[in-house]
Each structure stands twice: as C-alpha cells, then as structure tokens.
C-alpha cells in the first residue's frame, strides 16, 4: 500500500461530483455530456474493480481527507465490503444509463452522477455525520430522478417519498447528536472505542441512539413497519430510475451491517463480545426481516400493476437480507452478502423485463398506466424474446435452480441450519419463495397467455424506436452479472466469508 493507491479511496466520490457539475455547465452540448458520462461511468467501474482486487487479500485502509487526524478530520475507509458495494453501484449506474437511452431529461446525466457520488460516499465514509450527509446527497438526487418527467402518480409518490425520508433524516440527526453527546465523537472507529469504555449511566442513551439509528436504516431498507413507502415509489418511477433504485434499499442494509456491526458487534466475532451493548440490533433484525419477507411475498401476490409487483419483490429481498443478518453468524452474513448483489441485479433486470411488456402493449416507448396492468386482458403474443427475458429473469428473481438466486437461498438455508432460528428461517423463506413463484407465474400467464378481452395490441414497432436496444443491453448486463456470480459461486463465497469474518474487526 504505497504510492498513489490510497488516494483512490476519494475518487469514487470526487469524480462523479465533479463530472456531474461539469455536465451541468455543458448542459447545452449533448455530445460532451454523453462523453463525460461514459468516461465517468467506465472509470468508476475500473476504480471499483481496482479497489476490489486490492482489498481482496484483506487489505483495508483509512483515508484521512486533507490529512487531518481521525477524531477531527473526516475519514473514508476502504475494505472488501466497501469495494464490493462500489462495484455493484458502478454496474447499476451503467445499467441505469443504458436503460435510459434517450428517454431521460437533459439533466438526467448530472443527476445520475450526483446519485452515484452520494451512494459511493455512503459506502466509503467512516464517519457517522458524513454518512448522514451522503444519505442526503443520494436522496436529493433520487428525488429529482424520481420526479423526472412528472405526472400525477409520480408526484404523489414523490411527495410521500420526500416526506418519509425527511423524517428519517431528522431521526438520523437525533441519533447522531445523542452519540456525540455520550461519546464526544462521530468517527465510527473512534465511537466504537469510546462505547467500549462507556460508563453505565450513559449506556442507556447509547442504546437509544443505536436503536434510533436502526430505525433510520430500516426506513431506507424498507423493513416491515417502516417500508410502506417503497411499492408506491418504485412502482411510479421510470424504468431506468427504478433500476438504479434497486441498489438504494441496499444502502440501508449496508449501513446496518457497517454501523451496528462496528458499534454493537451485530455481527458476532471471535473477539470478546463482553460489551454491555453487544448485539443490540440482533433481536430486532430477525423478526423484522421475516415479517418483511412475508409481507413482500403477500404484496407480490396482491399486486395488480407490473411495476408494483417488482417493487414488492424488492421488499422481499430486503426482508431476506435483514433476516440473514439477524442470524448473526459469519456464514449467514456471507450468505446475505451473496444475496445482496444477486437481488440488486435481479430486481433491476425484472424492472426492465416488465417495461418491455408495457412498451410492447403501448407500441411506443412511453407506455401509460394502463399498459402496466397485469390483468389488462391484452396478452402480449408473438413476442418470444420478451417472454424469454421475462421467464429467465423471473427464474433468477424467484431463486429457482440455474440462477444465482438459487445459490444465494441455498447458502442462506445452509447457514441457518446451524442456528436456533432455523425452523423460522426455513419455513418463512421457503414459503415466501413459493408465494413469489406463484405470483410471478400467475403474472406471466396473464400477461402472455391470458384471454384477449380488450383492444388488440398495435403491431410491433420495428427497430429501436421503442428504446429497446439500451434496455435490452442493460438487462443482459444485469443478467450477465448474475450469471458470473452463479458460475464463480465458490470463489465469491470464499471472498464473502472472509469479508463477513473481518467485519467486526474494523
């Protein structure tokens, strides 16, 4: 670790911020904006791959911005988990840009880059207050992305989304202030050290702050009592935005893993867990995760809109992840870390697959709400490749054998078998998988085989007039990433197992 390599830690945040600002300046020159976006996205991917390779051997480092020492300055931390999340974000950013094609507004490229800067910052920061700031950066960009190309439904969802996240930010600030009040620092590593020697009189305050923070992250992750904003929001977003949003719930999961893993040993370690606050989050994660899982499956079964159906599948994946983290063993955490990229890629691909259905029904690249109805009585016939895409993606999403979803669920069930909660995990995960399969199969049979009761679908639009090429490339990219994960399941699992084992030590 010498030379300029440590400075690579700051680039995934700085580059998209600068590039985004630059593309706002050059707003009138579409060619330049496109070039900036292409260069930024590909270098983001390259940078995160370099970081991934560098950290794969277990290297991790803290980067002090401006070389201010940790308790005073703000720090970024790079380790395996952060590098992995950066890579996922870069892939989703590329998929989002491909899927957008020429659909987004002129400011779309800048917003996408700001969103990526916020996401990367949240994954890299080693400071609680900076986590809040990067949450706000990514949320501010996501508000604008969600409302891109407005419309009543999107505005309604946007108002709810902004309100819920404003409340979440307020809670975050309260929790951060309480941590500062008891420990006098907001650097996560520093906070961890101070909490270990906390006087008993302050333990209660730290506990309240920790649980408040858990509630904030549960809002982001859409866990059960706090996740009702998600289906409406994701169901109203444009397809390329929904693809990018597939990684947003993962920010909440990541933060739980990072903050509660470091501060409260939510991820059990070989090191002593004699801290008074050890395992603070664990009793909440498992029940919340299982309940979210059941609710998500029920929601998928009840959905009457294609995009809302996929949004409920995002809730299912959040529930699975929370339940796996709630088990609190290293294999279960490794299984969760395998499930995390899989579910992100799969949800993104599924949003694209249903968009193809709607565009085919509309005969244009701007489907209206009626085109997204599952039971519209307008079956999509003679479109074998749309059906094939839907079928393959649904297999991956539902976790049926050939895809990465199957490996993820098998890993999770295997990891759960060694814990006392295995009966709960096995029954709920398998039941919800069955319900998801039923929901997807019913949706597909209505969409592709159903009786035709409404006006016929206009003849297929030839060529790429419906913006199909970029969408198709994005879907293939996401499915390809899932395929790579499935093909190289063993090396990736080894990597993730080491990641999970190293988490509490940082």
């Amino acid at each position: 670790m010498e030379g300029l390599l440590p400075h690579l830690a700051v680039l995934p945040v700085a580059l998209p911020l600068l590039a985004g600002a630059l593309s706002l300046v050059l707003l009138r020159h579409a060619g330049w904006v496109r070039a900036i976006t292409v260069v930024s996205l590909s270098s983001l991917l390259a940078m995160s791959l370099v970081l991934l390779v560098q950290t794969a051997g277990g290297a991790s480092w803290t980067y002090a911005l401006g070389d201010w020492p940790a308790p005073f300055g703000i720090a970024l931390a790079v380790d395996r988990l952060a590098a992995m999340m950066l890579t996922i974000t870069a892939v989703m950013g590329i998929a989002c840009r491909l899927a957008a094609g020429n659909e987004g507004s002129r400011r779309f490229d800048a917003l996408l880059l700001f969103q990526l800067a916020g996401l990367n910052g949240a994954f890299l920061t080693a400071d609680l207050f900076n986590l809040f700031v990067f949450f706000e950066v990514l949320l501010a960009a996501s508000y604008a992305l969600l409302l891109d190309g407005a419309g009543a439904a999107r505005l309604r969802a946007g108002l709810h989304y902004v309100t819920v996240n404003l409340l979440g930010s307020s809670l975050f600030l309260i929790a951060a202030a309480m941590f500062y009040g008891v420990a006098g620092t907001l650097n996560i590593a520093d906070l961890d050290a101070r909490l270990a020697t906390l006087p008993a009189s302050d333990a209660g305050l730290a506990q309240v702050a920790g649980l408040l923070l858990l509630a904030v992250f549960a809002i982001k992750a859409a866990a059960l009592p706090l996740g009702f904003w998600l289906p409406g929001t994701y169901g109203a977003a444009a397809v390329h935005v929904a693809v990018l949003f597939a990684v947003m719930t993962k920010v909440g999961i990541y933060s739980i893993l990072r903050v509660h893993g470091a501060l409260f040993e939510a991820v059990p370690q070989t090191a002593s867990t004699a801290l008074p606050l050890a395992g603070l989050a664990l009793p909440w994660l498992l029940p919340a995760g299982l309940a979210t899982l059941l609710l998500g499956a029920a929601g998928a079964l009840a959905a009457r809109d294609l995009r809302v159906l996929v949004a409920w599948l995002v809730v299912v994946s959040a529930g699975t992840l929370l339940a796996a983290l709630g088990l609190g063993t290293v294999p279960a955490t490794a299984a969760a870390l395998y499930y995390l990229p899989h579910s992100t890629f799969a949800a993104g691909a599924m949003f694209i697959a249903v968009e193809f259905v709607a565009r085919r029904r509309a005969g244009s690249s701007t489907p209206v709400a009626a085109d997204y109805r599952i039971y519209a009585g307008r079956p999509v016939r003679e479109a074998p490749w749309i059906a094939a895409l839907f079928f393959v993606t649904a297999l991956v999403v539902a976790g049926l054998p050939p895809g990465s979803g199957f490996i993820a669920k098998a890993l999770l069930l295997d990891a759960a078998a060694a814990t006392p909660a295995h009966a709960w995990i096995w029954s709920v995960v398998l039941l919800s998988s069955l319900v998801v399969v039923v929901a997807l199969a019913r949706c597909a049979s209505a969409v592709f085989w159903g009786p035709s009761t409404a006006a016929a679908i206009p003849p297929a639009v030839q060529g790429t007039g419906v913006g199909g090429r970029g969408l198709l490339l994005a879907a293939l990219l996401l499915l390809g990433c899932g395929l790579v994960m499935a093909l190289f399941a063993h090396p990736s699992y080894d990597f993730l197992r080491q990641t999970a084992a190293a988490l509490g030590a940082t």
């Binding site: 207050f129 700031v133 706000e136 949320l139 501010a140 508000y143 409302l147 407005a150 419309g151 009543a152 439904a153 505005l155 309604r156 946007g158 108002l159 709810h160 902004v162 309100t163 404003l166 409340l167 930010s169 307020s170 600030l173 309260i174 951060a176 202030a177 309480m178 500062y180 009040g181 109203a236 009457r304 809109d305 209206v368 709400a369 109805r373």
Partner: protein, 123 residues
C-alpha cells in the same frame, strides 16, 4: 436552562408531528419545518451549551473544553440547517406541483373537499 430547552424541543416536536400527520400539504410542510427546527435545537443541546463561553480560542485561556463551548455541534447544526432547508424547499416544490397537477392540496393528490384523488390519477 435545561428544563426550558427540553420543554421547547418537546413542544416544537409535538406540534411538528401533529402538523405532519394532517392531510394538507401546507400543514405537512410546516410540520416538517418545525421538526427540523426541533432537531437542530436538539443537536445544539447535545453539545452541552454553556452560557457565556465562546467556541473560539482566546489568549490566556487554557485550551480545554471546561473553558469553551464545544464548537463541533455548532458546525453540525450549521450543516443540518442547510440540508433541512434545501430538503424543505424540495418538499414545497413537489407540493406546489402536485397541487397544480391534481387540483388540490391533499397529500394523496385529491381536491380540497378532503376525499383522495385516486380517480384523477393513475391506479
């Protein structure tokens, strides 16, 4: 001072929550604004503010926290104020646009009569 500050924060938060739960976007915006004021006061309070001590180093005074107010929470509050102000602005813009599109200021996009405007928009 502690009692006064705590009571004020509690009262502002309670008012904010009440307003945020109302069904009009204007009251929602007011409520969110009040909640963010309360949060800013709370951050300030968690820095243990002391009357009569500046957060700036002075000559001849030892550089320990016993002689100064902790400056860090004030920096945090400044950041929080900027962010919550910007986010409230976003909320107002969305609320205005929703009112323009749906013809009412109900948070679910309905008319002023109070019923939700689901029949106007998409399912």
């Amino acid at each position: 001072m502690e009692l006064l500050l705590a009571t004020a924060i509690g009262a502002i938060t309670a008012t904010g929550i009440y307003l945020a739960l109302r069904s009009r976007t204007f009251e929602l915006v007011l409520g969110m604004t009040l909640i963010s004021y309360a949060v800013n006061l709370f951050i300030f309070a968690m820095g243990r503010p002391v009357a009569g001590r500046a957060p700036i180093l002075r000559e001849g005074v030892p550089t320990t926290l016993e002689h100064y107010t902790d400056p860090l929470p004030q920096a945090l509050v400044l950041t929080a104020i900027v962010i919550s102000f910007a986010m409230t602005a976003v909320l107002i813009v969305v609320a205005l646009k929703l009112r323009e599109v749906s013809g009412g200021d109900h948070v679910d996009g309905g008319d002023p009569a109070g019923d939700s405007g689901r029949e106007r928009g998409d399912p």
